[in-house]
């Protein structure tokens, strides 16, 4: 395997303080140097992305008095894909008095992440979670409330307490709109300069520090250079490497990947979350997959027929011929097992030939019992919008026929490596939200992504980035600075190249092929043989892309094919790294399931003695073997053991 990568020096997170875990965040906030308010005006920060992590950071940094330049590829910051999160946001408020605490949220998250995340980070996340809810309520986020006027909660997969705050099935939308409004308030105040329809295409590193970005104005095609004292990437995850995912069409890895090529380590790229409750694929033309909130598993029951190839109408299959397999295999968590477990269980029953719907790639999510128990109006009030969405997409009425669901790529736990301060391996480059790797380990629990995005943006980054900015302002730069010129020239050259190939295949067709390879070999179950095959095929496909892609039009106009081409080019490099990472990790953990590493009854089998580390990859050149840097993970507060949800 050494031909695929080499191993470099181990790394460590040097920013997390030692000592009792509940004091570490306080300690770090105290030890981090401050920037006095008068000096903040002289310091500028670029923030790429306006989802929960980016908009909240931009608003907060703007309020603090820094000069913020915010970028998004959409026509408005409000459209970032955080908006699509449905279920909710966790917080250790213990408003239910059901035994929740900061420590329990911490414990659940570390365990849910299958012991592949950092204790210090997760503990901080749990501490900050409490403040997030307060902040959002103050902004006017209309969370669900009870008749007494207090906030309502529900429970989510992988936990046994009710700590999830929600706003019907549109929690992400409401939280994002809250952050967006705070951001627009700062735009009006003049502290944030908003650049919509701008895509970051290169990072500018000067004297070892991240000092700016090259961005393309997607309307005019102008290649612009922007400078700042620090750069923050809040550019989201890379699930679209699979082509079909629950991500928005525009979600991409380009900002992260460009930074990776400039020296930022990419950590745990193979950790992908496959979400169990998505609407199954209906045809080859399919452009994306739609998630049905995991909250549906609170009241819906998942089953398949006991017999293989049972083609009957589900309503005609008698109770004793149904296999409620999650309730059977995992009696204590039942339908509420974590996502990785629910997804793989669905894959297993489908592999046995008991799947339902077209191609046998689906399982039933049945609300008949819930409707009987709660009455249809109650079900409608709780899940109405999700049922409507299902009906709109499939043309079937879920109040009458059980829904069909199947796992789909949803979230990527991996991302750019960051330390406790959220700083990457390039000084001055910070990474927040899904774009970093830090808090979820090998599997993310439901309702934790919103929590992490907002924790990073509102509370963590604004309290750590000052330690770096205290050294600023750095030397003024302009377009003639050699590093900036080189970056802008390379962007132009790449665009010219894409436009000049004029081959036979569309960008989408190559992207779809990449997606098939990734899903087949680097999806829910991975094996050495498959991954090696995938790496070869990705290399061939990348070669074909650069010789045979067809991108029409010019650079100096709105050119959506050109935008896509640039993103797919980066996915073609990332895909290879994901496979290498998956191949090197010869254990199963969380969302990463290696066929070679399972228990007798088919559960994921970790090898803590060998793999209890973060795999941080260093770029050495396209197609060249990357360098693996290991960051050892130590558990002082949670005992590492094989997860069990039985």
């Amino acid at each position: 395997m050494t031909e695929l990568y080499t191993e470099g020096a181990p790394i460590a997170d040097e920013k997390a303080p030692a000592g009792p875990i509940n004091e570490r965040w306080d300690k770090r906030r105290f030890s981090a140097r401050l920037v006095n308010p008068a000096n903040r005006r002289k310091l500028s920060v670029i923030i790429v992305g306006t989802g929960l992590a980016g908009a909240s950071a931009a608003a907060t940094m703007g309020e603090a008095g820094y000069h913020v330049k915010s970028f998004c590829y959409q026509d408005s910051p409000r459209r970032a894909h955080s908006i699509a999160a449905q279920g909710g946001i966790n917080a250790a408020k213990n408003y239910r008095n059901d035994g929740d605490s900061i420590h329990r949220l911490f414990y659940d998250t570390v365990k849910g992440g299958d012991f592949r995340s950092r204790e210090s980070n997760v503990y901080r996340l749990s501490q900050v979670s409490v403040e997030i809810i307060d902040q959002c309520v103050a902004q006017g986020v209309p969370f669900a409330r009870e008749y007494g006027g207090l906030l309502d909660n529900r429970s989510f997969g992988g936990v046994q307490v009710s700590r999830t705050f929600y706003a019907r099935g549109q929690t992400g939308q409401q939280l994002l709109i809250g952050a967006y409004q705070a951001l627009e308030r700062q735009v009006a105040a003049g502290t944030v300069e908003m650049n919509t329809r701008h895509e970051m295409l290169e990072l500018i590193v000067v004297d070892g520090r991240a000092r700016g970005i090259v961005a393309r104005d997607m309307v005019t095609g102008e290649i612009e250079t922007h400078f700042a004292d620090a750069v923050v990437l809040a550019s989201g995850g890379y699930g679209n490497v699979f082509f079909l995912s629950t991500n928005a069409m525009g979600c991409n890895v380009t900002a992260s990947w460009r930074a990776h090529r400039k020296g930022a380590h990419f950590a745990n790229p193979c950790y992908t979350q496959i979400h169990p409750t998505c609407i199954p694929v209906s045809g080859e033309y399919q452009s994306k997959l739609t998630l049905m909130s995991e909250s549906l598993r609170n009241d819906g029951r998942i089953w398949v027929p006991k017999e293989t190839g049972d083609q009957r109408d589900p309503r005609e299959i008698p109770e004793d011929e149904r296999d409620y397999y999650l309730e059977r295999i995992y009696p204590s968590f039942g339908n509420l097992v974590p996502r990785d477990i629910a997804s793989r269980a669905a894959k297993n029953v489908c592999d046995e030939g008991r799947g339902v719907g077209p191609g046998g790639l689906g399982v039933y999510l049945d609300f008949a019992d819930a409707i009987k128990r709660m009455g249809r109006p109650a079900v409608e009030a709780k899940y109405g919008n999700l049922f409507d969405m299902y009906q709109r997409i499939t043309g079937e009425n879920p109040y009458e026929v059980p829904m069909r669901i199947y796992p789909a790529v949803h979230y990527t736990m991996g991302g750019l490596w960051v330390d406790y301060d959220l700083q990457s391996s390039i000084p001055g480059l910070f990474v927040t939200g899904e774009a970093n790797f830090s808090d979820h380990g090998a599997n993310r629990l439901g309702a934790s992504a919103l929590m992490q995005g907002l924790a990073d943006g509102y509370f963590v980054l604004p309290n750590t980035i000052n330690d770096y900015l205290a050294d600023g302002p750095f030397d003024a730069l302009d377009e003639t600075t050699p590093e900036a010129k080189e970056a802008a020239d390379s962007v132009r050259a790449r665009i010219d190249k894409l436009l000049s190939i004029d081959g036979e295949r569309t960008v989408d067709s190559i992207h779809k092929e990449l997606g098939h390879i990734m899903w087949e070999y680097c999806g829910m179950e991975r094996s050495e043989e498959g991954l090696r095959k995938a790496i070869d095929r990705i290399r061939e496909l990348r070669e074909e892309f650069w010789t045979n892609v067809k991108v029409l039009g010019s650079n100096d106009e709105l050119n959506q094919a050109l935008e896509k081409a640039g993103r797919v080019a980066d996915f073609l490099e990332l895909g290879e790294l994901m496979c290498i990472d998956a191949l090197h990790r010869r254990e199963s953990c969380g969302g990463h399931f290696r066929a070679e590493s399972q228990t007798e009854d088919g559960e994921a089998l970790r090898h803590d003695d060998e793999f209890a580390y973060v795999a941080a990859w260093e770029f050495t050149g396209t197609g060249e073997p990357p360098v693996l840097h290991k960051e050892a993970l130590e558990y002082e507060y949670v005992e590492m053991k094989q997860r069990s949800y039985k």
Partner: protein, 249 residues
């Protein structure tokens, strides 16, 4: 099924546009409307013709990026977002006219893509509650009656797609503005800035060259999120109250 499309093509903001006819064959009824446009674009690309530009992102009806006028109706016949419209709503042989949102406040960028920055500027004028990070009291410090929270939520579901403007005979942005006024004005947290908010947002709305509202109701009828028309009445009530108020600034 086979479909004939008449699509608005316009190279750039200052160029003349025109309708161009395309045929799309073998359309699957389970395709979404945008997937049908994807198929058209694949075909156009391979034949060397510039693909049709259209805004879209989440394709699950929540980001608000997509939106075109289909056969004269904003988002088409199903009262949902364009991305959630499926081809089963049409029949074999149909001719479908596709146009961009048309409003001075939404200039066409290219083909079916428009610039909705005016909406962001209306929000900048006051569509927020000033709550700097870190200043918040405990979330349970102020209970919010469920009815108020629900009312706020109904208005807050606005996705800013702009269908209301596209459908309005006056190209008014009143439903969008009213949704935000109602969302924030229904919460106790939104009260301190309530008067200033409505005054500033209306001024910005007018400055963006949206038309005035004449209570026709096309906006609410096409709104994919069902923002109620009475939010506009709420806005009017708030504005008239704010104008009558003698509160010192």
């Amino acid at each position: 099924m086979n479909i004939t499309l008449r699509v608005w093509r316009q190279k750039g903001r200052d160029d003349e546009g025109r309708m161009v006819t395309y045929k799309v064959e073998d359309v699957n009824p389970d395709m979404s409307f945008l997937e049908m446009l994807d198929v058209l674009n694949e075909k156009l690309t391979l034949s060397g013709e510039d693909p049709v530009a259209f805004d879209h992102d989440c394709r699950e009806g929540i980001c608000g990026a997509c939106g075109v006028v289909i056969n004269g109706v904003a988002h088409g016949p199903e009262n949902t977002t364009t991305c959630q419209l499926h081809m089963r709503s049409f029949k074999d042989g149909d001719e479908i006219t596709i146009e961009p949102w048309r409003a001075k406040a939404f200039p066409v960028v290219k083909d079916l893509v428009v610039d909705r920055g005016s909406f962001d500027r209306v929000i900048q004028a006051g569509g927020y509650i000033s709550a700097p990070t870190g200043t918040a009291p405990d979330a349970h410090a102020t209970p919010v009656p469920k009815a108020d929270a629900d009312r706020a939520f109904d208005a807050a579901t606005c996705i800013g797609c702009g269908a209301c403007v596209a459908a309005c005979p006056n190209a008014s942005g009143m439903l969008f503005t009213a949704a935000k006024i109602t969302h924030l004005g229904s919460m106790p947290q939104g009260q301190p800035e309530r008067e200033a908010r409505v005054i500033n947002m209306i001024n910005q709305h007018d400055a963006e060259d949206f038309g005035g509202c004449t209570n026709i109701g096309e906006c609410a009828a096409v709104c994919p999120k069902g923002i109620p028309l009475d939010t506009i009445s709420q806005l009017n009530r708030d504005l008239l109250g704010a104008l009558a108020s003698s509160k010192p600034e």
